[in-house]
Amino acid sequence: MDEHLQAIGESFLTFKYFEAEAATKRALKAGVPREEITKTLMALFREALERYEVGKYSIAHLTAAASMFEVGFELAKTDVPPKGKVVIGTLGSSHYLGKDIIRLLLTADGFEVVDLGEIVFPDQFVEAVERDRPDIVALASMIIACLPLQRATVGMLQLKGLRDRVKVLVGGAVTSARWATEIGADGWAPDAPQAVEEANRLLRELKEGI
């Protein structure tokens, strides 16, 4: 088992996308438990995140690492039912990275994530809530000009009578706990790991009827 996981790790850390994919397939064929593979991929992605935090990796490296994590995780994911469903997207701008990292971490944590992508507008979130019936709506705003779209999304959910059905989590470089409270969101996270913790907290609240 170790040699297969090591092969995945070596390909991953040298950014050999197709080799990492092939190594994941070989590991699955050899009977390596899916949980072990996803755990390894998660550790590798976290290592990439740490290297970015200390300036060893650029956004380009992190983008490549995210795509490698994603292809491996898709192959190795288990059939365990998701713990909850999150609809996520970047409001108004094409900033993808923060939102993508949260999507990957939530997926790895057992959530089903519907990614609306970037340059998303409030009405698209409302449509997704009606269509996908998520537990949580995660709204990312990366530039200040798009902050009003977070408020508008919360308002539109209220107007459509959908607000009580979902928890609203906001985040992004220009947001704050104060802002989240001001617009009536249920949660706020300053970074990706805390977004996962916050999503779990909101899910618990939802299940407890809070």
């Binding site: 650029s58 983008t63 490549a64």
Partner: protein, 357 residues
Amino acid sequence: MAEMTGKERFLCFLGGEKPDKVPLLHWSVDLALALSGVPMHQFAFDAEKVALGHIKYVQKYKTDVCVVNTDLWWAFEPFGVEVYITDSLIYPKKTVADRQRPDPKVYQNLEYRDPFSGKRADVLRRAFEIVAEEVGDQVAFRQGGYGPVSNLALVVGVKELLRDVVLFPEAVFGAIERVMMDWTVDFIAGSLEPWKDKLTNINWGFASLDRDLAPPEFKEEIARLELEALLRVKERVGPNVPVTTHFCGPRPDLDFVTGKFGDALDELQFWWPGSNYPLEDAVAKFGDRYAIAAGIDHTRTLLLGNPVEVDAMVKSALDIAKDRCSFALSSGCELGIGTPEGNLMALAEARDKYGAY
């Protein structure tokens, strides 16, 4: 000193001479669109409305420089880049590598396309001509484009390019050398032609050299390619036409870029307050070599603040830079759609109040 036109003021600034007052520079497709009186799906196809909106913009907000555009993607349509056009926005719906599995063939198969063969190119070039004819004696123009690396990102998708330059750099850099270098030179030189004798400068966007964006191992190569493209544009347009810049990001790598581009640039325009590069540092390091344009935070003070805060922001920037270098008040990037008119008026008033020499 006698009142100068905006054009005279900006040219003095670029030449390192003292104008009557500090030039004012900001721009916004969204606000020009609002001033044109038509929705985006009409604006984007009507040269006269594009020109009208931008002319009204410089006249109403008293800027010394005009930047005419509708969006980033019109010249990429011949590559197959498609956009959505709503009442108020243009944004891409499909780029060449959009959301596909990483595939080096996307780059290997990329072929040159004439940047002006798309259906919206004629609209923009005609709009440039109208604006040059109408206000070419009063204001300067800030037209140009990004370098070949950024242009490839707009063809294949920013996210896709960032991923792929790490996964298969040879294919990516091959496409830049083989296709995007010529395309960039043809696009920028061709975009500057309609301005004829009203052309004041070549503007170069440095999106690909933001501090965190590019892999450090490729920065030298990216800079080499960008410089080659710029020098070729200068050759076509005229070696004495000044080169202005635009650093879009929150972590502008001014040190690296000035180190690599040296005398090929005449001005540094970047986002402060807002980015992590203090104006004080830029003035101290580069003020004796380049004209510097900064001082307006388009994302916080101008968008969310009030006229008193705008006044204070202008004063603060001018206190730092006005008498220490050739300085222009500039927003970090394009202004957002909700920027209050009162703040824009306060900006012009504060420039007049604190910016006179």
